[in-house]
Amino acid sequence: MSNRKGPPGSQPFMKRPDNTAFKQQKLPAWSPTLKAETVLPFFFVSGAACIMIGVLLIITAAGVQEIKVDYTEERDCAECYSLRLDRANSIIDCACTVFFSLSEAFKGDVFMYYGLTNFHQNQRHYMVSRDDAQLVGRQYNLKNPSITCVPFDKYKNGTPIAPCGAIANSIFNDTLQLFYHTDKNTETPVPLLKTDISWFTDRTVKFQNPSPMDNLTAAFAGTARPFYWWKPVYQLSVEENNNGFVNEDLIVWMRQAAFPSFKKLYRELNRTQEFNDGLPAGNYSVKISYNYPVGKFRGRKSVIFSTVSWLGGHSNFLGVAYCASGAIILIVAIILTVVHLKFREKPLGQEEE
């Protein structure tokens, strides 16, 4: 087009658009319309498909076993609960135990979660209060936490906090230990795995210790623990590869929940010895080192045990939603069919047919 230049009027067709299908709006095209022959079968098929998916999901979810033990004020935890209402008592240790029993064995992999309610991890100011550059081990950010961490970035004397920010500061610090009671007097600690409970990308990419990685004490020298922590970040665990920023409890906590009631993966059953097939039926107890105060925000704490399926947890929401949608679609399909056969206004062309 641009190659056709000339003084105005020299070529009468200078401004004529090219005679191409594109410019003349004559591109070959497919013009679909909603026709009864396509719409009605589509409705019936999709309705049926939805119901089938729904049933499949419900069956899958039904195969997942789950037990939830709310220990906020359970038995002796009630004392701890009231103790933790006052911040001044935070230096006092408080331990309690809750009991539960499984009527049937949890087969396969069993996961242990802690659940919190009414805890708004999705609050804007809370969510941004972290420094991912620090958590990935950058030296500069380690010593100079991001401004987003304020006021959890530095002590008054200027010592930087690692990890900085409100999220890390409020880490869930109850310790939960699971025991299996074979009879009244013997309790066997259930072996639990502390690792592999976070996303692979999180523990390998998103969270990295600062160098030197083999000496975390040195690596974190010049930084201090968050205000509410009892120990510095390099003492979170005794295991080398689960310490510092790559401690998986920290990583799990740092992945904020979308909604105020959430559960986070705490441990995974180590399937050895008698727990080779999962958790056998019987009595269990969870010994809790009750540190985390929830009374102030009227939250609840719980411990959850669950098996998994290919789909996920023990949730029926998707299955029910699919079934309901499928049913509605089928009803609509029937209504549409009736309407189409009885009430439709015949387009001109159809009469000719």
């Binding site: 009468p12 095209a29 013009s31 909603l34 692979f200 909604f259 699919y322 549409l336 439709r344």
Partner: protein
């Protein structure tokens, strides 16, 4: 068939069908663009029949055309009316070449021999006389009067001995008029020297008269234009631009009201009205408003209204109830619903009164009740006033189309201004929104491109509101769960890119390419234009439907995902996975929605829609990649999210469910609408599909043949005053300059002086443009700019000037009735 010698000697053969055009190669000065088909006529000229020669001599002498010979043999004629130009050109090609003129001579080249005639006087044309004559002294010294004019007037002034020839000619004239041609009689008269001397003296006296000069002159002219000998008749096709009547018919069917505002005289305007089928013989009545005082005009308008009301009453007798039901209680609606077809022709001086504040409503109501409205002799200002009037009271969208400088004000006043590019200069073109060279392009502009444009714009707008509501409202629902802390649901990059990358191109492609019905169908069914007039595709209701749909979508997107995430599925409770799930659902849902909205899937639509979805995933994976995170850990905090989240089957089930729940109601409602209340476009679309399966059919719309019963008189486009100008020689001094700048519209030229005198534009200066619109190009600027008609095959050979229907103002009414 334009011009034909009708004498008793010459055989009359009319070549109607395709024939071999005449070969004018014997004549070096012939205009090559001139095409003629009657071989007998050329034979008669070559043989040297005196009557035939005289016939063409008359055509070459009796006119007010100016010639310009830039180089030897290269003649250009500047005719003030195209009819004259055509006749002189015809004479030129048949060997009687008008070469040049001075105030007192006319030089011809007759069959190759130069001949100079002494121009003794020009008896100029005017409205009443409807004829013009020249008195010349031929090289042999004989004085002869040549006259051409309207048949009715000339027949009375012929010598009685012409009776036989008159009868034959009358038959021919009737035949021509039946074909809608403009006829002209040619006659001559030999004058004795003494006779002329005496008359000339009387003329001198009359022209020096102080009072009633015009009348005196006319009387003197009358004296000499008596007992003339009939030479023959010419017929000129008043060739409108191609397709004008069809265009007007189609636009009328599309519920567009057409008003013609022209500077022409009433006769010309009415004539054009007939030839472009705005006025028809089967109209109930054509009202002429020609009053010169306020009172007269008011009276005439009142009478017109009363007549229409009367007919309503008489016709409505059979079903008075129905009539009442039809009429909403509105004052003007009675007139809107009148049966019968009426037309209103109003004169400029009457219009001046009609446009006054106290009468304008009356005028508008009367005019709106008429099928056709023609305002003639209107000034440019009045044109604008009329458009303004309609704009003010009728809530209508107005479109003004014109070709002349005096249409500029009207073009600027109307909502849409269209300029016709042609011989009239470029002022109108420069002031207009759209420009083309052919009036008939208007139907494509409105019915095809205008319609598509409206459709596309409405769909585009609806979709835009929809997709942004679906996108944004999710945050509102999320607010209930994050303490209204302004936490966004999506990743910041998704928010940035959603509108500009993920969802912009498909809707843009729809806005550019969408067609509900193909162009041929929208021309075939002008009723398809109606939704735009009634504002059906985008109004408050449609707007709220879009918004409701957007909000519904956001509810589904949020709460389906919420159901899954709050109900703790393993590993899936974190905010970032939620963000990815909702964002992916959103992109897929709006893409499915645009796929549903797109009615015309070109390769580009496919590319954009699929491409946008693919782009979403590509960009998401890139944004969530290790590489970017390692460079900017604080900016790309979603690292690893895409692969971890989308690896979960539950996420895909969530997305699928959201999509189904969002789309099924839309499909349901659309299907129901299509099934129960199909719009015309749906029906046309459907028949299109059916037709495609069957064999392709021809176009339904046949071009209506030209029929007419009106006998036209002297070329109505003719103007008086030129004869005087020529004899005074005023134009000669300037002529070369003026002529060269004619097309350029030099402000100082004599043509402008004349224009001012006439107060309006030249009506028929618009010539046929030779160009043929390129295949549907929008506003294609094809200006042939050929002074004479383009050679055409078929019988309609070279016409004289083909006039556009004058500068017409087309007023498009939103159907007030509904």
């Amino acid at each position: 068939m334009l011009c034909e010698v009708c004498d008793t000697l010459g055989p009359q053969s009319r070549v109607r069908q395709r024939a071999v055009p005449l070969d004018f190669s014997f004549n070096a000065l012939a205009d090559r663009r001139f095409v003629f088909f009657d071989h007998a006529l050329l034979e008669a000229v070559k043989v040297g029949q005196p009557a035939t020669h005289e016939f063409f001599r008359l055509l070459a002498l009796c006119h007010t055309v100016m010639s310009e010979e830039k180089s030897e043999g290269e003649l250009y004629y500047k005719a003030q009316s195209p009819d004259e130009g055509a006749l002189v050109t015809a004479a030129r090609c048949f060997g009687f070449v008008f070469r040049s003129r001075t105030p007192h001579t006319i030089t011809l080249q007759e069959m190759g021999r130069p001949a100079t005639y002494q121009l003794l006087s020009i008896l100029d044309f005017n409205n009443i006389r409807k004829r013009m004559s020249v008195i010349v002294r031929n090289p042999e010294g004989r004085i002869r009067l040549y006259c051409k004019g309207a048949d009715t007037l000339l027949f009375e002034r012929l010598h009685p001995c012409n009776q036989d020839l008159m009868n034959i000619t009358t038959d021919h004239l009737n035949e021509y008029a039946g074909d809608g041609l403009r006829t002209l009689l040619l006659a001559y008269k030999d004058l004795e020297e003494s006779e002329y001397e005496a008359w000339s003296e009387r003329l001198q006296r009359a022209s020096k008269a102080v009072d009633c000069r015009e009348e005196r002159l006319a009387a003197v002219y009358e004296e000499i234009e008596q007992d003339m000998m009939l030479l023959g008749a010419t017929a000129i096709e008043d060739k409108l631009q191609e397709g004008v009547p069809e265009t007007i018919a189609i636009l009328t069917l599309a519920n567009i009201k057409i008003w013609v505002l022209t500077g022409d005289k009433q006769e010309t305007a009415v004539n054009i009205g007939y030839s472009c089928k705005m006025l028809t013989d089967d109209m109930t009545e054509v009202f002429f408003v020609t009053g010169r005082t306020v009172h007269e005009v008011r009276e005439e308008l009142r009478k017109a209204r009363e007549k229409m009301m009367d007919s309503t009453r008489t016709l409505g007798n059979g079903f008075p109830y129905q009539q009442e039901k039809l009429d909403p209680p509105k004052g003007s609606s009675v007139l809107e619903a009148i049966p019968g077809e009426y037309a209103l022709v109003i004169n400029g001086h009457s219009l001046a009164h009609a446009l006054e504040a106290d009468m304008e409503l009356e005028f508008l109501e009367t005019a709106c009740a008429c099928k056709a409205v023609i305002c003639c002799r209107v000034t440019p200002l009045q044109k604008a006033q009329v458009v303004e009037l309609v704009k003010k009271y009728k809530r209508a969208v107005t479109l003004a189309i014109g070709d002349g400088a005096n249409d500029v004000s009207m073009i600027k006043t109307a909502h849409i201004g269209v300029g016709i590019s042609g011989q009239e200069g470029i002022q109108a073109v420069l002031a207009s929104d759209y420009t083309f060279s052919q009036f008939k392009s208007l139907q494509r502009l409105l019915l095809v491109h205008g319609r598509w444009s409206y459709l596309r714009m409405c769909k585009f707008l609806c979709y835009f509101f929809y997709k942004n509501f679906a996108f944004t409202m999710v945050h509102f629902w999320f607010g209930f769960f994050c303490g209204f802390s302004a936490q966004t649901v999506y990743d910041q990059y998704f928010i940035t890119l959603y509108n500009i990358v993920y969802t912009s191109l498909p809707v843009l492609a729809m806005g550019i390419f969408d067609q509900d019905v193909p162009e041929q169908r929208s021309l075939e069914y002008p009723k398809l234009y109606e939704p735009g007039q009634l504002n059906l595709l985008f109004n408050k209701r449609e707007f709220f439907i879009c918004i409701a749909q957007g909000i519904y979508t956001s509810v589904v997107l949020f709460f389906v995902s919420y159901g899954v995430f709050a109900d703790d599925v393993t590993q899936l409770a974190d905010y970032q996975s939620f963000a990815v799930t909702v964002a992916t659902s959103l992109v897929i849902v709006v893409s499915v929605q645009i796929a549903l909205d797109t009615g015309y899937w070109t390769a580009i639509n496919h590319f954009f829609i699929w491409g946008s979805v693919a782009m979403y995933f590509a960009i998401m994976f890139a944004m969530h990649s290790d590489g970017l995170f390692n460079i900017f850990p604080n900016q790309f905090t979603f690292v690893g999210n895409a692969q971890n989240t989308l690896a979960q089957p539950a996420v895909w089930f969530t997305i699928l469910l959201s999509t189904v729940v969002c789309i099924v109601p839309v499909v349901t409602f659309r299907f129901l609408k299509l099934d129960l209340k199909p719009q015309l476009s749906d029906t046309v679309r459907y028949t299109q599909l059916v037709r495609k399966k069957q064999k392709p059919q021809g176009r339904r719309l046949r071009i209506v043949g030209r029929t007419g019963s009106r006998r036209t008189g002297y070329a109505f486009s003719h103007q008086e005053g030129f004869g005087e100008l020529i004899t005074s020689g005023k134009n000669m001094r300037l002529s070369s300059l003026a002529l060269s700048s004619f097309t350029g519209r030099s402000s100082a030229s004599w043509i402008d002086t004349l224009r001012k005198k006439r107060g309006t534009e030249s009506p028929a200066a618009q010539q046929v443009s030779a160009g043929v619109s390129p295949q549907g190009a929008e506003a294609s600027q094809v200006s042939g700019g050929v002074p004479l008609a383009a050679p055409e095959t078929g019988a309609t050979g070279p016409a004289g000037g083909a006039s556009a229907p004058g500068p017409a103002s087309i007023t498009e009414e939103c159907a007030v009735k509904e």
